[in-house]
């Protein structure tokens, strides 16, 4: 028998086993509470930008509660200065970057000797001491960054180096998870092949439940929120 035939046979058998056992359950189902039919959750009405102090402030607090760092800046120059500070403090030499235009605009403003690697191969990547990406969305109530692979080449730069710096525009922050799930599903670029949710630095409690930060992923997460004041009309 070929593998395809095997798989087809297994598929048929599993599906008919499910149907047969569900059918056998029919005469008992009346005794138990009837399964309820789940209703899709009500959509949130805050489809608007949510661009106000409380959402940004909530995001900052939630992020700091999980050991992330957050700076709120007013424009791209200030964002570049914030990045510069982190690069200097960490004395970063090799920095993995995503392909986002915002990241590139910030890099142009940096004064550093560091090497920037746009699509590093694996061994270069393992030697990087910092990664810089943006995030497409953020969730205020949990301090979560949401990165879509169709929008940005984010997966390794945000994961492998010990420090991750993420830049996000304030109008991309939403209050709740449900809103962001809706946004990434109905994105113009389609649902990305990989969507990554990041809430604070990598952590583990596997040894005596003692919290240790930075096991396989970054031990430091810096988020820079660009909150540009509205232009006067």
């Amino acid at each position: 028998m070929t593998e395809t035939e095997h798989s087809t046979e297994a598929r048929q058998e599993i599906l008919s086993s499910i149907r047969e056992h569900l059918a056998a359950s029919k005469r008992f189902d009346g005794q138990a509470v009837q399964p309820q039919t789940a209703q899709p959750r009500a959509k949130s009405n805050s489809a608007q930008g949510d661009r106000n102090e409380t959402v940004i402030e909530r995001f900052r607090q939630a992020l700091e509660a999980v050991s992330g760092h957050c700076s709120i800046v007013r424009n791209i120059d200030e964002a570049a200065r914030a990045v510069q500070q982190i690069v200097d403090q960490r004395n970063a030499q090799r920095i993995a970057i995503s392909d986002s235009t915002l990241v590139h605009e910030i890099l142009r403003r940096l004064k550093t000797e560091a090497v920037f690697l746009a699509a590093p191969n694996q061994s270069d990547l393992f030697d990087c001491d910092m990664g810089i990406t943006t995030a497409q969305w953020a969730i205020a109530e949990t301090g979560t960054l949401v990165l879509e692979s169709e929008r940005e080449r984010h997966r390794l730069a945000s994961l492998v180096p010990p420090v991750h710096v993420a830049i996000i525009e304030a109008n991309r922050i939403r209050q709740r998870m449900a809103e962001v799930l809706e946004l990434i599903k109905s994105s113009d670029a389609g649902l990305s092949r990989t969507v990554t949710f990041i809430t604070g630095p990598s952590r583990t409690s596997d040894i005596e439940l003692t919290l240790a930060i930075g096991v396989h992923g970054p031990g430091e997460l810096h988020v820079i929120v660009i909150d540009e004041p509205a232009q006067p009309a």
Partner: protein
């Protein structure tokens, strides 16, 4: 190095049917007790704090259960929808009836690609089918990359908890293990142990030909798999190697993308007491362009392995709603005393006591449904409101009376105890007739003079066990109060006479 007071060695425990002896062994393990105490307090407090941040926790639990019930009632339809959508996005779907088939499929995939080195992220489904042993037998080098799982693998042990697999081991034991296996300097600093693990495992990630993961949720609507974690090892496992193989129990499917919101609120809070774990990876098929990041191939193995059988009755069907958070373990007074290994199975605690007999066959785990006081703490904390006590009773009745409906191949009880059966029939007969009940009480009062010691019947004197061995099973561990000198009925009659 020898640590006479530090045992916590999973290798001394027998299979599920040795539960009684296993439990006795575990009760004598001092180090296990302090580890479990730490677990109960820490996870208990964290969970309480995390659920207090949800406005309507009860409503959320109901909603999650309704989603699971709806899915299970049409599981065939949702599985097909999931498989079609995942394939449309570029994933390959494989169907596996049992654990052997899963291993066979994975070994074939790896051999065809000449993949010899595999990195794995924590997956209870692969623990359940002993995938690592099968890969080892096929000469495929497999490294667990979750810190807890890696510790367990280095020590040649098995997990003792669904969420924190190495909870039974002390920092000292882990440090000694690292000194012996990876040659670090002795330390008692958890941060140093963690960074040693990071260093060694980075090398394994760099060399890996393939990554194997589990799945927390599979979304039918989009064909997406979602995996939660804190460490980042799952992201590395599913991003770096050229091929990613995900093993998914057929019960992991949920209908809609929006349903993830409900489960992402419940699972981290119940499991580790976090509002959200550090990372969620939502993976839908394979990369679109060759220059994109990520594996070239995604294979999803849909595994039945005894799950579809559980659909045959509404009580057993609940088992498939489980999202493997481990909250029932932490809340269970039995687990709190004996830990995970005593259950002799991959799934310990209350959920293990109901899942294991159904997965491996009830005759191979007849003691597990009795490993509970039916206190209901598990039901209280379960994020999807599984009525575990009802399940335990259901399984107990299957053990003594035979399968309740369904398509079970087994006919008749696993162990029929005629004497016990007869005794209960007599008990029901007598206790439902007032006259016999009263005579019984009087007779008992006469008889108990022989066996009451220090005002109690049973354990203290051990007399019952000596003169009537079958009752010894009841009295070996507990005392019963003696029958009162005057029963309530007698007192009632007297007071009525006085009036």
């Amino acid at each position: 190095m020898n640590h006479p007071t530090e045992t916590a060695d999973s290798t001394v425990y027998g299979p599920p049917n040795a539960f009684d002896q296993n439990a006795l062994k575990a009760l004598g393990d001092e180090q296990l007790h302090s580890a479990l105490q730490n677990l109960v307090v820490t996870f208990g407090e964290r969970r309480e704090a995390a659920i207090s941040s949800v406005e309507d926790w009860e409503g959320l639990r109901d909603e999650a259960r309704a989603i699971k019930d709806e899915t299970l009632a049409h599981l065939d339809r949702y599985l097909k929808e999931f498989a079609n959508n995942a394939e449309r996005a570029g994933a390959r779907i494989h169907w596996a009836r049992d654990g052997h088939e899963v291993s066979r499929i994975i070994i074939r995939l790896l051999r065809e690609r000449n993949a010899k080195r595999v990195v794995k992220s924590k997956s209870m489904a692969t623990e359940e089918i002993h995938l690592n042993a099968a890969l080892e037998a096929a000469a495929i080098e497999t490294v667990e990359t979750d810190l807890g799982e890696w510790i367990i693998q280095l020590a040649h042990e098995t997990p003792s908890h669904i969420v924190v697999p190495a909870i039974h081991k002390s920092k000292k034991q882990i440090a000694d293990l690292f000194v012996e296996k990876i040659g670090i300097e002795p330390t008692d600093d958890v941060a140093k142990l963690t960074s040693a693990a990071r260093r060694v495992l980075r090398q394994r990630f760099a060399e890996a030909d393939a990554g194997i993961s589990g799945v927390n949720f599979g979304v039918a609507e989009t064909g997406t798999i979602l995996i939660l974690e804190n460490e980042g090892n799952i992201r590395l496992t599913t991003s770096l190697p050229k091929i990613h193989i995900a093993v998914m129990g057929i019960e992991k499917v949920i209908p809609r993308f929006a349903d993830l919101d409900v489960f992402l609120k419940l699972l981290p809070r119940s499991g580790t007491g976090q509002q959200l774990t550090a990372y969620q990876s939502l993976i839908t098929g394979t990369k679109k362009r060759p220059e994109d990041e990520g594996p070239e191939e995604l294979h999803i193995v849909l595994m039945d392995n005894g799950r579809s059988r559980m659909l045959a009755h509404p009580v057993t069907r609940q088992s498939l709603a489980c999202i493997r958070c481990g909250a029932c373990l932490n809340a269970c007074p039995v687990y709190q005393q004996i830990g995970g290994h005593a259950y002799g199975s991959v799934y310990p605690g209350p959920i293990g006591a109901v899942i294991t007999p159904q997965l491996i066959g009830i005759s191979k785990a007849t003691q597990l449904p009795y490993a509970s006081s039916l206190c209901g703490a598990c039901r209280e904390v379960c994020p999807v409101k599984i009525d575990i006590p009802a399940l335990l009773l259901h399984l107990r009745s299957e053990i003594v009376e035979g399968p309740v409906g369904g398509l079970s191949e087994q006919r008749g009880p696993v162990k029929k105890k005629f004497a016990e059966h007869l005794a209960f029939r007599l008990y029901v007969f007598a206790w439902s007739r007032p006259m016999l009940y009263e005579w019984g009480a009087r007779g008992g009062r006469l008889f108990q003079r022989l066996v009451v010691t220090q005002g109690r019947i049973g354990k203290v004197s051990g007399l019952i066990a000596r003169i009537a061995p079958p009752f010894g099973a009841w009295t070996a561990w507990r005392d019963a109060p003696p029958i009162a000198p005057r029963t309530f009925r007698e007192q009632w009659r007297e007071s009525s006479r006085i009036k």
